[in-house]
């Protein structure tokens, strides 16, 4: 939001990069500007159109846990906060046009190409969350009350489908949650790497549950708990003291024949035996992996991939933002799994390297410096 207001920052949204030519200092980027079907210069984000639109579909942003209209804003903090029409769903009834006092709706918009002259490029395409239906023993997709960490984020969010109330998909208030760690990660059959953020994201999620629903039971089923970094080990210990239970056993999730409460099968650390436990909600700590959108942009820019499909950095220690293509930099999860602080650091470093290019000094000088 703040970035969008900065005088030196121009946001080009709803746009695909379809070509990149030139070299450091003088790139020509070809863009495909996709239509909003709303004139975003006119739209002031009042939302009158949304109220009248008759088409209701599941909202992707809320992991399909909440509906949206065919004309919608992706989420309340979207930048710019303007409305867009999903033309695949829109039935062209025209009600939004009548409702809009600013005459901003324009169903005749077409995609068009645009060229941008830029001195440097930073790729920050992120990654994608592992799809847990690839591992049937966790019950995802077959059991309503087994959700991904991404879905859980929405359940906890004050602006989410439950307005922050801890309610599971079938409507019951949540009194016990089992977090299952390393889903798809650290597994040679899926993603062999550690996804880095998910242990601490579970600790954070567990704390949210304890705050929202005092007395609720929070169980974290983990492999090794990775709480590296400033303050994280302390947060983990404090959580243990405050009653969060950490159980070192990656469980199987059985379906409950009589109730909607998933059954966790795990090794009880106290008895050393396999035990079963019913919980209200299971949250799967799905890891991060390279995304198809990131892959196509990587291909377009001719950047190399590492053994896993993330973009390969120029050097694992002193070339973490650079790529073999001078003037093209990388930041965030597109280079490998990270948490937000590390992404921000990475992004800031990339911006500094861009500054060197734009000042006309080239990348050589930065390694000499």
């Amino acid at each position: 939001m703040e970035a969008a207001k900065h005088e030196n920052i121009k946001l080009v949204t709803n746009t695909e990069v379809i070509g990149v030519d030139g070299e450091a200092g003088h790139f020509t980027v070809t863009l495909r500007r996709n239509p909003w079907y709303v004139d975003i210069e006119r739209c002031n984000g009042c939302g009158a159109c949304v109220d009248v639109c008759p088409i209701v579909v599941p909202h992707e942003w809320d992991m399909n846990l909440k509906p949206r209209k065919a004309i919608y804003a992706m989420f309340a903090q979207a930048a710019p906060l303007k409305y867009v029409i999903d033309r695949e769903r829109c039935v062209e009834c025209g009600l939004c046009m009548q409702a809009c006092g600013l005459d901003a709706i324009d169903l005749s918009q077409e995609p068009y190409e645009e060229r941008l002259e830029v001195g440097a490029i930073v790729v920050a395409t992120g990654g994608q969350v592992f799809d847990p239906s690839a591992i049937p023993r966790y019950g995802y997709g077959r059991q309503e009350n087994v959700v991904t960490n991404m879905e859980f984020e929405r359940i906890c969010n004050a602006a989410g489908p439950t307005e922050g109330e801890l309610v599971r998909p079938d409507g019951k208030h949540i009194r016990s949650v089992a977090f299952v760690q390393c889903v798809g990660s650290r597994d040679v059959n899926h993603n062999p790497w550690c996804s880095f953020f998910c242990c601490m994201a579970a600790v954070k999620g567990g704390r949210l549950v304890m705050e929202h629903a005092p007395g609720a039971e929070v169980l974290v089923f983990y492999n090794d708990l990775r709480a590296c970094g400033k303050g994280f080990e302390e947060l983990y210990r404090r959580s243990v003291e405050e009653g969060m239970r950490f159980i070192r056993s990656i469980p199987t999730v059985y379906e409950n024949r009589t109730r909607n409460d998933p059954i966790i099968v795990y090794e009880d650390p106290e008895t050393g035996r396999i035990e079963r436990k019913e919980v209200d909600l299971v949250v799967l700590a799905c890891g991060l992996q390279p995304s198809p959108a990131g892959r196509s942009l990587r291909g377009l820019l001719g950047l190399p991939r590492d053994g896993y499909g993330f973009i390969r950095e120029a050097h694992p220690v002193d070339g973490l933002c650079e790529t073999p293509r001078e003037g093209v930099f990388i930041a965030g999860v597109c280079q490998g799994p990270k948490d937000i602080p590390d992404c921000v650091t990475h992004g800031s470093a990339a911006a500094a390297k861009v500054g060197i290019i734009l000042s006309g000094k080239g990348t050589e000088s930065c390694s000499d410096a």
């Binding site: 023993r137 040679v188 059959n189 070192r248 990656i250 469980p251 090794e267």
Partner: protein
Amino acid sequence: MIKATGSGLEREIEARCGERVRLCFQCGKCSTGCLFTPAMDLLPHQAMKLVQLGQEERLLSSRTIWICASCVTCTARCPNDIDVAGVIDALRQMALEKGVRPAERNVPLFHSCFLGNIRATGRISEPVLMGAYKALSGDLFSDIGLAVEMLRKGKIKLVPSLVRGRREIRRIFSESGGKGAVGKG
């Protein structure tokens, strides 16, 4: 890849079945998938830990190595691609070779009756197998009701049949000779 530089037992297991138990990081996925744990004295991942620690005696005298049904659920789940069922099989072979008294006496007995039957006729005959097993185990009447029912429904043939390739079968036995349960059968 992590090198298997651990206990002597780890190296012996690797030599026998190629599996590197050193890779096990104790996630417990094998154990939470195994359907036979209620009858086991060591959970599969505990057995892997004991291999890493070189606790041969505890393993070879455990009930787990005989209770394991080789269903390979554990193997399919292991995130480090360890053939857990194969490791347990290697432990069974070691127990037989070293003459460790099986904690579940009847399981190896059943295996050897089964293989003895195959060796003789090339095909399992339920009455022969059950007769031999029951005589040796002393457990004569436990499923007699079931046997009567199976006979009535024609599920059990009373006269054993032979297969043609009996000579080949005997050759398989003699070539694999002396290894594990088969050799002693």
